[in-house]
Amino acid sequence: MLALNTRAAAIAIAALLSTPLAAAPFAYISNQLADSVSVIDLADNKVVNTIAVSGKPAGVAVSPNGDKVYISTPEAHGFAVIDARKQQLITTVKTSEGALGITVAPDGKRIYVADWFINTVSVLDADNLEIIKTITVGQSPSGLVVSPDNHWLYVANRLDNSVSQIDTHTLTVKKTTPVGQHPFGLAIDSRGEKVYAVNVESDNVTVLETPQMKAIATIKVGALPYAATLALNDSRLFVTNMDDGTVSVIDTESLTTIGLIEVGEKPEGIGTHLDDRHIYVANWFDKNVSLLDAKTLQVKETITTARGSRAFGQFIGK
C-alpha cells in the first residue's frame, strides 16, 4: 500500500513537472555564434531557458498558436523545430544549402524557408515537415512575410533589389517589384495593405502598397538597416540600423522619421510584443536584447543573451 502510494505520488509529481509552462508570451532569440536560442519570458523579461541549436541559427518563426518555433540553421542546411511548451528541440529538417529567411503561415499549416544561395523558397507542410514545393524567386531571398489573410507570401530578393509576391494558393510568383538596394527584412501591416522592405545598401525603406505591389514611398533611415516591425496599431514602424546602433522610428501616416533610439551595437532582428507596444531588438555585437517602449521611445531594459544574437524574423509568440 505504502509502495503504491509512493508510486502514485511519484506519478503525480512527474505529471506536475511535465505540465506545460505557463503560456506567457516569449521571445526566441537566435544566437548565431553561440549555436543557441535564448528564450525570454516577456512577463518579466528574463531569459528562462537557453536551447542548444547547432548549424548557426539565424531566422526565427513562431507558429500562430505559440506551440512551435522554427529556427533556420544555414550551416545545417535547414531548420530546427522547437516545442515551445516544453522548450525543447524536437527535430531538425533539411531543406537546402543556405536556409536563412523563415516564416510560418497565419494558419500555422505551412512553413516557408528562403535559400540564400540557390534563390528558392521551400514550402513545407507544417504537420509532416515535408516539402510541398520549391519556388524559384530572385537572387539571395531573405526576409519573408505572409499576408494576414494567408493569400500572399512576400519575399525580399536581396541581390535583385526586388520583392516578389507569391500566391499561396497556386504557389507561383505573381509579381516582382523593384525596391531599394539589397532589401533584407520585411514587415507587413495587420490589414495586409502595406509591406515595408528594409534596404540594407541604400539606407532606406520602400513602402509597397499591397496586394497591387505599388511602391508608394521611400523613407531614409540610418546606416545599413536590417529589419523592421510595426507597433501601436500599425502607426509606427521601427527599423534597426546596424552600422549606427540605432532604431529609426517612422510615422506610417506621414511616412516621416519621428525619432531615433540608441540601442546596442549591430542591432539586427526586431519584433513587437503581443501588447503592440513593446519592441525587442537583438544586438548582435553586444550579446543582448534592448526592450523599447514604442510610446515613449525609451529603452526600458537590456536583457543579456549570447554571442551573435540575430533573431531574424517573427520571433515573438504566445
Partner: protein
C-alpha cells in the same frame, strides 16, 4: 595629405571593389588587452584615425583625410604592400572610442575555384566593421578591439583561402598584433 591621397585613390580604381554579397554567418573577433598606462595616454596614441601606422607594426603608412569626423578616410598600406581603405563611422571622444569600416581592399591573389576566378582581398573578409575603445582601469587601462565581418567568399562551400577560419585567423592576428604593439608603446 590630399596630394598623397589622390594618386593613391586613382591607383585603387584598378582594384575590384568589395563584393556586396556575403555568406550567411557573420563572424566576430573581440579582443582586449590591459595596458599599464593611464587611459588618457593610451587614447592619445590612437585617437587620430590616420595615426594607425604610428602604433600598429603591420601598417606601413596610413594617410588620411577628413580628420576624426564621421566619413573620415584612411588608407592603410600593409607591410606586404597591400592596401585597405577604411572610413570612420562613429567617433566618441568622451568614451574614448571610434568605429570604422573597410570600404575597399587591394587584391592579394586570384584563385580559380569551382571554375570561377575568385579574388582574395588583402584581409580575407567582407563587410568588415570594427570598434576600438579605451576604458580606464584604475590608473591603467583596457583596450578593446572588436570586429564584425563575413568570410570573403560569397557563395556556398568556400575555398580554404576565403572561408570563415581564414577570415577569423587574419582578423585576430591583425587585432592582436595591434593591441600588443600599442601596449609596448604605451608602457615605454
Amino acid at each position: 595629405m590630399k596630394k598623397i591621397l589622390l594618386p593613391l585613390a586613382a591607383a585603387l580604381l584598378c582594384f575590384t571593389g568589395l563584393a556586396n554579397a556575403h555568406g550567411p554567418v557573420r563572424q566576430d573577433t573581440d579582443e582586449s588587452i590591459i595596458i599599464n598606462a593611464p587611459a588618457e595616454k593610451v587614447w592619445g596614441l590612437i585617437k587620430d584615425f590616420g595615426d594607425i601606422a604610428a602604433w600598429h607594426s603591420e601598417v606601413f603608412t596610413s594617410p588620411a583625410e577628413g580628420g576624426n569626423l564621421k566619413g573620415g578616410k584612411r588608407i592603410l598600406t600593409l607591410k606586404d604592400g597591400n592596401t585597405v581603405n577604411e572610413e570612420l563611422k562613429k567617433y566618441d571622444e568622451a568614451n574614448m572610442s571610434y568605429s570604422y569600416k573597410i570600404t575597399d581592399m587591394s587584391i592579394v591573389k586570384t584563385i580559380n575555384y569551382a571554375g570561377v576566378d575568385e579574388k582574395v582581398p588583402a584581409i580575407p573578409v567582407a563587410n568588415f566593421s570594427a570598434t576600438i575603445t579605451v576604458a580606464p582601469k584604475g590608473d591603467n587601462s583596457e583596450v578593446t578591439w572588436k570586429a564584425g565581418y563575413y568570410r570573403a567568399y560569397t557563395n556556398n562551400n568556400p575555398p580554404e583561402e576565403m572561408n570563415e577560419a581564414t577570415a577569423n585567423a587574419a582578423v585576430k592576428s591583425f587585432v592582436m598584433t595591434g593591441l600588443i604593439d600599442l601596449k609596448k608603446i604605451a608602457e615605454q
